[in-house]
């Protein structure tokens, strides 16, 4: 069940492209939306936990490869968030706009917190999660808005196809 792997791969590639090229156009108080996280959450709430974890792992790995000096922090953080989203999604419908938006917001805070914890474990200065907290909140808002737009577009496409 859930979206086919090739479609999920296309989502991830599109999200990475957006992240590299266009995400900065939507900067809000030093925060940019994370299309990669939105893709992970969108996929994770539609599939089982194992597939969600694999998808999160791939997405985090791509983020780490495209970033400089993050070690495996994005990989660990995104995988854990994907597992979290996959586990929680058993309790609600994936198409619920409010729940998906809330999930994206919570996932943003969780992912960034795990990221900075892993970074501090790698020797980066500690306390960065607290310093970036304000930015995290704005990113949570942006990601909630982004996943809402994605769900709207998905619904519109479905309605268009079914006439």
């Amino acid at each position: 069940m859930g979206p086919p792997w090739w479609l999920a791969t296309l989502w991830l590639l599109a999200a990475l492209l957006f992240q590299l090229v266009a995400a900065r156009w939507f900067t809000l108080r030093d925060a940019i939306p994370s299309a990669v996280l939105v893709a992970v959450v969108y996929y994770a709430i539609r599939v089982d936990t194992r597939r969600a974890a694999i998808y999160g792992l791939a997405a985090g790995l791509c983020d780490d490869l495209l970033s400089t000096g993050t070690g495996g922090a994005w990989t660990i953080a995104t995988t854990l968030v994907a597992i979290f989203a996959g586990m929680l999604s058993r309790n609600f419908f994936a198409d619920s706009l409010l729940l998906a938006a809330s999930m994206a917001a919570v996932a943003t805070l969780l992912r960034n917190t795990i990221f900075w914890i892993v970074r501090s474990a790698q020797g980066y200065p500690s306390g960065m999660a607290g310093l970036h907290f304000h930015q995290m909140l704005w990113q949570a808002l942006l990601n909630a808005a982004l996943i809402a737009i994605v769900i709207f577009l998905g619904r519109w496409r479905e309605n268009y196809r079914t006439g």
Binding site: L16, Q19, L20, A23, R24, T27, D30, A31, I32, S34, V36, D63, L66, S67, T68, G69, T70, W74, F115, Y124, P125, M128, L131, Q135
Partner: protein, 256 residues
Amino acid sequence: MIAVIIVAAVIALVQIAAARSGTPSPISAVGTSVLALVEETASSAGNAVRNGATAVLSLPHLTHDNQTLLARNVALARQNAQLHERVAADAQTLSLQPVIAANRVVAQARVIGFPPENESRSLTIDAGTRAGVQKDDGVMVGGGIVGIVQEADPWSSTVLLITDYTSRIPAVVQRGRWWGIARGNLSSVRVEYVSQDASLHVGDVVVTGEGRSFHSGNVIGTVTAIERSDTGLYQTAVVKPAVDLNALDRVVVVGK
């Protein structure tokens, strides 16, 4: 018959009187005005007929002419955009000239990327070790310093911006030569460890001190606020960077 003679006599008298007084005759004035009106009406009607006929006759060509003009308009708009881009690019190149003249330039580079998740204030430039760029080289533009090369790959390098939390640069408040350490604070820079004796003012210019990446005297920014406590050993200046770090295109990598 008599009436005609009377009218003719009156006209003659009016004309004679006007001629004697040297003023235009009212009859002539009325006649001229009426004639002018008739002439203008006739001329307008003639022009309208002529223009209409021309339009009808040239109707087959109008579509073609319209398409040609539209195509020319699109081409001119494109050319205009290209010229604007060249002007902007040339302005940026010109603004780099003072930096190039005053420093040992390793390479000129273009900004080609940013971290995808914005977890650090850094950017990627298209010059790497093959162009001579090394770790800890300074990066500048005409307005001031941008950051320090954090990692140099063969074809590209990562530059840590001065606003990143982990960025540390020796700084000097230009007016009083007071030393401090410029630390990134996301959208601003904080110059910390400035002596309590220093009489800092908003508007003071902060420049680099002699350090590993920059020679002294390169502009970091301007003081916008001062944080001072009675019990602290030091005071802190909040500095607005001189360079708009969100609108960088061409930069210069400088070595020591």
